[in-house]
Every structure is written in structure tokens, then in C-alpha cells.
Amino acid sequence: MQHEALKLDSDHGNGSYGTAAFEARPIIGNAREKLLDIKGIKKYFPVKNTIGVTKKYVKAVDDVTFHLYEGETYGLVGESGCGKSTLGRTILRLTDPTDGEVFFGGTDIFKLSNSEFRKQRQNLQMVFQDPYSSLNPRKRIGDSIAEPMVIHNIGTSQERMERVFDILEKVGLHADTYYRFPHEFSGGQRQRIGLARALVVNPKLVICDEPVSALDVSIQSQIINLLEDLQEEFGLTYLFVAHDLSVVRHISDRIGVMYLGKMVEEAETDELFANPLHPYTKALLSSIPHPNPKIKQEKIILKGEIPSPINPPSGCNFHTRCPLATDICKQAVPKRVEKRPGHFVACHLAE
């Protein structure tokens, strides 16, 4: 399979992209290679008043810095409206970034022209939350899955067809899926189709935007297992955006927690769950209902709701709901500090 995929890759007119971008770039002081290095990424949406003049911005993603190691799963969690999906979409330039840099294989992909970037998209794929609305209802599944190869000019039509049958088998679907239409499938099957379409061009990074949130528990576990198997087989790197913390804990190597457009904490999964430092992370972890009736939880109930990102609070933007907030939190924006190895937090009070 892997072999077959590589062959297809080199058939591609600009086949060198796939390999040249991935020559070893050792990072000093860290054995693992960074696949994607995201620095100070911002996405502001303008809010226009009645005469069309922009005076305010929704700061959906506000100065977020992190990186992805090759082959890992990075979980991005936060409540609705915190900017986690926008962050994923901005990295793929599905919406134009306001500011920041994203290094992929040594080049800043935000600086590439549209046509140059389109070639890179082969390496950077996305799986969406609702696979039904992201599949063309009038196209046969096989054609939908083959389309990325057509766009990237990979293989002959015969080879493309073989590749689609191959990938359908990998994601656990029958070969006759090729000739059917999206409405004939259940949610779980559609999610498998979405995955097949992302993987057909042999990407390096797959951004999964809430891939299992719309599925029932018994189907959810099937898809999670599939994601893990495919990662192992193809050496994929996942950016896994979700709000369900137990799913994120299961699948992620490292987790970033977002609140109101900012990344407030980042750590390896076990470290984050054992030692949450940010008061928001603590509240978030304590409010997940534990599926064991014998464990009675001490919940930290937060006051109020997420403020509007148009007028975010001054200083630390969590101070309006934070049980520990002091005067400094209202005035100064906390910096991202590495409190323990690999454990970053943006809070004035974190020890």
C-alpha cells in the first residue's frame, strides 16, 4: 500500500514536493522533527457597521503559537466559539490568515502564492465534522474520492480508480461504495468516505475537525480505532479538533486548550490531565461527567458564559469567569510560559 502510494506520488508532475519538503531538518535540543511550526497565527473577522465601515474585529484566533511533531496527534480542545475550528481552517488557508507564520518543511506556507500553495494542499488535508454536507450529493462516491487526484494531476484514470478501490478497502468500506451516492450511507460510513478522500493523495498532515462528534458512541469508537490504524499505517500526523475531552485524551499525544481565541495551556496528554495548571483547564476537566456512578466529582462550576470575542475582556480574557482572578489579571495579558518541560501555560497565577 505504502509502496503503491509512493509510486503514485512520483507520477505526479511536481512529485518532488512530496519528498523534498521532508528532508530531515534536525531541531537542536529536540530529537523529534517538527512537521508544522505555527507562530503567532491570527485570524480577525471584520465587523462592518450599517454603512459598511469596519470599526471592530472578531478576534477568532489571536496570536497562537504551537507546533506539530511528525507522526503525532495533537488535540485541540475548547468550547464552541473559542476559535479551534477557525485555527484549523486558517492553517490550511481555507480562510485568509490575518497575521502569523506557518512553516511546513522549511517554507512559510502563508507566504506562498495561491497556485504554489495549491500544490502543497496535497500534503495537508482536512476531514470535516459533517461528512454529508462536504460530499457532493450528485456525484458518485468514487468520483468524489478520486477528485483530489484529478486536481493534483496524479496518475491515469485507470490508476486513480485502482487507488480509490484500495483506499476504500483501507477505510473499511465495500468496493461497491464506488458507484453509490452519499445519501445511501449512514453517518459513520460517510465519515469513512471523508477520510478516504483526505487520504487518497497520501498527505502528511490531516486536520480532523470534530470528526466523531456527530456519531453515536458505538460508531464513534469504530472511527477512532480506524483513525489510529491509518495513522500507524501511513505515518500520518493529526491535528484533532474536538470538544469531547475523553475522546481527545484517548487519541492525542499532546493537547492544546483554547479559550476565546487564545491558547491558554499546552502539554502532553498525561501531564495535562494529571497536572492542569490553568484555572480554565481545571474547570473544564472537572466538569466532564465521569461515567462511573461511584466517583462523586468535585466540580468547579464556572460563572457566566464565554464573553463576546468582539469585545474580549481586558488583560487575561478569562478573568471574568475565573474563580481566582486578581487585579493583575484585569490589566496585563499573561504570557505563554513553559512551567515544566513541554508544559506551557498563559496565566499570571499558575505555579
Partner: protein, 333 residues
């Protein structure tokens, strides 16, 4: 008998469709007492929402829906009473919270109007008294500045607030039974815990019975007293929360519990799965309905329908092999 707040006996709800008659709820029985929380758990399409809506007789189109069985509420069979009697119970003695608050609130009326409506209708209070009661309700559910909020429209407030307004409407007449259909599914965890704490404290204050429909087993474990697990229109297992989580007897319950990712302990082991998917109601298996997906199924399961057996400690189970399966899979919790 007769001393439960709500007692459902062998309820069947049929719908007439283009492809023939479909029985979405097929002979289920359960009860809810005052002050307790019964969870109805199951995946989409198992009939849990239809059950809830059948209790309130929300499917009333003649010729399309028909009911069998009994729904006894305080000794009255709700399926036998007249429409006008039913209207007196709906929203007054039994009320319901729906999953999606935006589509169940009326966009052209203020929040205040919508809370006042059931109060004026059922409790026969004057407009002024109802207004005061509405403000009181908004305070009770923790909405800041209720005197202003009462004049706002649903689109002006956030999702969490809308869900609270739904709760305020449902509780305005102090119902004896509250049916909550996935009340927190559309909400974030921190808001979810606020809402569930609120429902919990109101239950204690008003001594309501609650029927909570959910697919989130964490919510069940933390907030409910008893659980009924549904699969394809039937109750397959019922028992109190602790025994159900500690010692699930039905292979479906076992599968559900072990397929959720864990919050503690080893996170690197593979999730166990329930193979296949829920069949459509037009293609109901002949024997045990779970048999085609069950790891323990044999020829008997494929051909003969099991009955719901009652065991010790009010536990009920619908499975041919629950005694042999017992303990076979126990990686729950």
C-alpha cells in the same frame, strides 16, 4: 401498582409510512417515581425520543400515528383521556425540555411572554401576577438582570441562556414530571454542568420526577438514579445506576459502556467496538433484535425473541444468555 408517578405499560407507537407500518416503540414498560431521575439511554433511532413524545401525545395526526398499551400518570391512562383533558396536563403536570432551544422557542415573542403563557393558561393567574412569576423563574434559573431579559427575544441571548429559558418555561407551573430530551447535548461542558446542577437542585426543591433522555453515559452516571437502555424500540436492560455500570448484563449495554474512551487509567488500549450498525426499523431482525451485532449470539438468538425478565433488585433484562455472559466482559468503568 398504581403508586408510581408515571407507569408505562407495554407502550407501542406506530407510524404509517410510505413503506408500510413502522413500530418505533415496541412494547416498552417502565415507571418513574417522585424525586427520582430515570435515564433513557440509547443510540439515535432507538426510539427514546418517540417514547418521550408519546407520553405527552405529541404525535396526534389521525391515521398516521397510533398507540397501544397504557401510560398511567397518577392513575389516569393518558392514552384514553380526551384531547382537552390532555391539554390540561401538558405543560402543567408534565412538561418537556427539548434538545434544540432555538427551534422550540418562538422567535416573535419575548422570553417573558413565553414563560407567562403556560402560567396564565394553567394557573389562571392575572397578567401582572404571571409577569412577577416569570421574573421569579428567571432568577431561579440564574439569569442575571431578569427585569431586562424578560423583554428580550430568543435571538438576543446565547445558547446556554436559551436552554435555561426552556427550563424556566417547563418549570413555570411546577410540574410533577419533567421530561428532558437531551437537554444539554447542544451545550458546552462547562455550561452543561451548570444546567444539570440546576435541574438537580430544582428536583430536590420541587420533588419532581424526571425522565432524562440522553446518550451521554457520563451524565447518566453522575445525575441519574435508574437507567433503562433502549435498542431498536425496545428496553433491553433496566436497573439502578450503580449496578448497571458495575455489572452490565446485556451485551449491548456492555458494548456501550466499554466503547467510550476513558478519562482515567490506561488510554493506550484500543477501544472496544460494537460491530455493524443499528438496522432500520423496516428490517427488524426476527429473533433478538441485537443478535446480528452481538458477539455472543447463537442460533436461538437469531430465531427466538427473548422476553424482558425481572431479576433481583428490580433489575430487568432481555437476553437469552445473560447468565452465561455475566462477567464475560467486565472492563466497564
Amino acid at each position: 401498582m398504581g403508586d408510581h408517578l408515571l407507569e408505562v405499560n407495554n407502550l407501542k407507537t406506530h407510524f404509517r409510512t410510505e413503506r408500510g407500518k413502522v413500530t418505533a416503540v415496541d412494547g416498552i414498560s417502565f415507571h418513574v417515581d417522585r424525586g427520582e431521575v430515570l435515564a433513557i439511554v440509547g443510540e439515535s433511532g432507538c426510539g427514546k425520543s418517540v417514547t418521550a413524545q408519546s407520553i405527552l401525545r405529541l404525535f396526534e395526526e389521525k391515521g398516521v400515528t397510533s398507540y397501544d398499551g397504557e401510560i398511567n400518570f397518577e392513575g389516569k391512562n393518558l392514552l384514553k383521556i380526551s384531547d382537552s383533558e390532555m391539554r390540561k396536563i401538558r405543560g402543567n403536570d408534565i412538561s418537556m425540555i427539548f434538545q434544540d432551544p432555538l427551534s422550540s422557542l418562538n422567535p416573535v415573542f419575548t422570553i417573558g411572554d413565553q414563560i407567562m403563557e403556560p402560567i396564565m393558561l394553567h394557573q389562571k393567574l392575572s397578567k401582572k401576577e404571571a409577569y412577577e412569576r416569570a421574573i421569579e423563574m428567571l432568577k431561579l434559573i440564574g439569569i442575571p438582570a431578569p427585569e431586562q431579559r424578560v423583554h428580550e427575544y430568543p435571538h438576543q441571548i446565547s445558547g446556554g441562556m436559551r436552554q435555561r429559558v426552556m427550563i424556566a418555561i417547563a418549570l413555570a407551573c411546577q410540574p410533577k414530571l419533567l421530561i428532558a430530551d437531551e437537554p444539554t447535548t447542544a451545550l458546552d461542558v462547562t455550561i452543561q454542568s451548570q444546567i444539570l446542577e440546576l435541574i438537580d437542585s430544582l428536583r430536590q426543591k420541587l420533588d419532581m420526577g424526571i425522565m432524562l433522555i440522553t446518550h451521554d453515559l457520563g451524565v447518566v452516571a453522575q445525575h441519574c438514579t435508574r437507567v433503562a437502555v433502549m435498542y431498536l424500540g425496545e428496553v433491553v436492560e433496566e436497573g439502578d445506576v450503580e449496578s448497571l455500570f458495575e455489572n452490565p448484563l446485556h451485551p449491548y449495554t456492555q458494548g456501550l459502556i466499554s466503547s467510550i474512551p476513558q478519562l482515567f487509567g490506561n488510554r493506550n488500549k484500543k477501544l472496544s467496538i460494537i460491530k455493524g450498525m443499528v438496522p432500520s426499523l423496516n428490517e427488524i431482525p426476527k429473533g433478538c433484535r441485537f443478535a446480528p451485532r452481538c458477539p455472543f449470539a447463537d442460533a436461538k438468538c437469531m430465531n427466538e425473541k427473548p422476553e424482558l425478565e425481572t431479576l433481583d433488585h428490580n433489575k430487568r433484562i432481555k437476553c437469552w444468555h445473560h447468565q452465561t455472559i455475566k462477567g464475560a466482559v467486565s472492563n466497564a468503568t
